[in-house]
């Protein structure tokens, strides 16, 4: 019932290696089937995201013994030379494997600390493996635990709540003013990469309407079509600024594009309805005086970068809390694992003692011809009762006492002590 993990991630492998070792869902299914068919693993789960490829499994024998076989399998499966792969792969066993997965689910092992997507990816990988019968009792319990850890970390800590990029910080700030953006309109000035990033965030937050204004109509049209928006002619400020709640500006210009008088006129026309302006241009696209206007909120790149830095610090300060949740669940899982293993050991002992009892009674009672069948049955029953009494107490205690299970660190040693290889469960 040991657990093995072999994998690589953004810390151990460059993107060139990661992309070669990633799994499509079809490949993940095939890999899991092959690993079980070859007898390398009894339970298997493949977790593959853009930043990591990991194979979790329960080997039939010792986890340490199966790890090299797993590495070789990965090398063959993806046709990557073993020497390239070996420097990037990490191997974790039992406690460390459990801890690693729980940290992954918590977002503590992500490139962007506390990112939310990983929990969905873990959930999806588990659902897929479970549906295809690749998991068993151990991995089921392990991944259910991981999902619980991820959920708890997200509800009980602030690890994933704060925006970590300038674009997302700007969008989150807009939500501080307007609430949900699903009934709001946005105007994007410029059609470059930065504009695209912000538009992507706005769309994720459900922005109701998007308008794009750019000096080049064609580029504006491409961006508008990609995100389901419409294009407005460059410089038509009175029309353009009348309806949007959020304006994002990222154009190359020596002078501010949005002058104070333009915004002042627009605010009068819109009855002072609040306007959030995100100035991502360098040099700035929005006249600093615009920020003094009533109900106008202006944030430039520096303001947003500062917020991102504050958020990064805030997220990092949450690490101990999240780690505490991970450790709590690791202990819980290991306790469950030990209880299952120990109860299995007691059951094996019981079977062995019954066998011993049968041969013992046969040998010792053979000379006792004076005993009737009833006497013999009585003696056998007494011995059965004694054996049950001897094993029942410890079995009950193992089921009920976590502390006792924690003390019995090495179940394997107990097995070796009492059982031969043939008798091991």
């Amino acid at each position: 019932m040991e657990i093995v993990l072999v994998g690589l991630n953004h810390r151990t492998a460059p993107v060139e290696v990661r992309e070669r070792v990633s799994f499509t869902t079809e490949q993940a299914k095939r890999a899991a089937e092959e690993l079980r068919a070859r007898g390398i693993l009894e339970e298997t789960l493949v977790l593959s995201t853009c930043n990591r490829s990991e194979v979790y499994g329960v080997p039939p024998e010792s986890s340490h013994e199966c790890a090299p076989g797993l590495s070789t399998f990965l090398s063959e499966f993806h046709s990557v030379r073993p020497d390239i792969l070996s420097v990037s792969l990490y191997h974790h066993y039992d406690r460390e494997a459990v801890r690693h997965l729980f940290r992954v689910a918590a977002g503590l092992d992500s490139m962007l600390l506390g990112e939310a997507e990983i929990l969905g990816q873990v959930r999806e990988a588990y659902r897929f493996a479970h549906e295809h019968g690749a998991t068993g009792p151990v991995l089921n319990r392990l991944f259910q635990g991981a999902l619980e850890v991820g959920k708890r970390v997200r509800t009980e800590t602030e690890l994933g709540t704060r925006p970590m990029s300038v674009a997302s910080a700007g969008v989150k700030l807009a939500e501080r003013i307007f609430g949900k953006l699903s009934e709001r309109k946005a105007l994007v000035l410029g059609a470059g990469t930065i504009s695209e990033q912000v538009v992507s965030h706005l769309r994720d937050r459900g922005i109701a309407q998007l308008q794009v204004m750019n000096r080049s109509w064609d580029r504006a049209d491409v961006l508008a079509k990609e995100f389901g928006g419409k294009v407005i002619g460059w410089g038509e400020w009175d029309t353009a600024l009348q309806s949007p709640d959020v304006v994002v500006s990222s154009v190359s210009a020596e002078e501010p594009v949005l002058r104070r008088d333009i915004v002042e006129r627009a605010m009068a026309a819109r009855g002072n309805r609040a306007l959030f302006l995100m100035d991502l241009g360098v040099p700035r696209n929005i006249d600093p005086g615009v920020g003094e206007l009533y109900n106008v909120y202006v944030y430039n790149t520096d303001d947003l970068s500062e917020i991102v830095q504050q958020n990064r610090n805030a997220r990092e300060s949450e690490i101990p809390l999240a780690q505490g949740i991970v450790d709590e669940h690791v202990a819980k899982f290991l306790s469950w694992q030990a209880s299952v293993e120990l109860v299995g050991l007691v059951d094996a002992l019981r079977i062995k003692m019954r066998e011993e009892r049968a041969s013992f009674i046969r040998a010792r009672m053979e000379p006792m011809k004076h005993l009737t069948e009833t006497d013999r049955a009585h003696v056998e029953k007494l011995m059965d009762e004694m054996l049950e009494k001897l094993l029942l107490g410890p079995a009950e205690r193992l089921r009920g006492e976590k502390e006792l299970r924690r003390k019995i660190q090495n179940v394997e040693a107990l097995r070796d002590l009492f059982l031969s290889n043939r008798e091991k469960p």
Partner: protein, 270 residues
Amino acid sequence: MNHLFPILTALAYLVSFGLYIRFLGTGNKLTGRLGTLLLGLGLIVHYFALLERSRGLHTVPYHDLYGSMSLFGWLLALTYLGLELYHRQRSVGAFVLPFILVFFLAAHLAPADRLSPPAAHGVVFAFHVTLSILAYAAFALSFVLSLIFLGEERLLRSHKLGEVVWRLPPLELLDQMSRSSVLVGLISIAIGTTLGFVSVDRLPGQNSFYDPKYVITLLVLALYALYFRLAGTTAWRGARASRLCIFNFVIVVLSFTVVNLYLSHSHRYF
């Protein structure tokens, strides 16, 4: 008099306040829900505290300053809880609970009643007083919401967000909550004032319509109606409307204190 209900009420409000503060600090949803639950429990126990006292004294809760303040605290809690559930927004709880607690606890410090009992009584009069206090509670709530609005707006404009801005409700939601609260107050005060005039009209031989309280109540009604209009659609929306709301509440406090105690001859603690 049995002190069990008042003690339990104070305890429930106090724990609820602590939980709301913790919710504001950590964002833990469970803590927020517990805060709401404790506030709900506090409301129930507070109701029984008011009921028990009224039964003991054989009078209505607003008969003296103690009961009037306690009833105000209860209605404030009730209005806030309704607003919280309607707008699904708990972050404001940490700011409203101190007011509820202060009114509930300060009621115990109120001096003994020395004023003569009101001339009017009966169901219409009871509704007049209760609805008037409900209106004051709703206006108090809009006052708190406007203060939060102005604080948050200032932080957003100065780009000094800190920790708390991420937890406070969005500005537009605060504005909506404030308007909802004022709407409750406007309806209550309009009906309450009408019922007040009906009560006066029914009094034998006393048909005075020249109490300064009437003037200030109509002024309060007009000012809040103006706020409601300006905050919704015109160039005053936002911080200016919030400032007007705060100013209006100053008039309410004047009406509740100076006018009641020193100028009005037929109003006492409501």
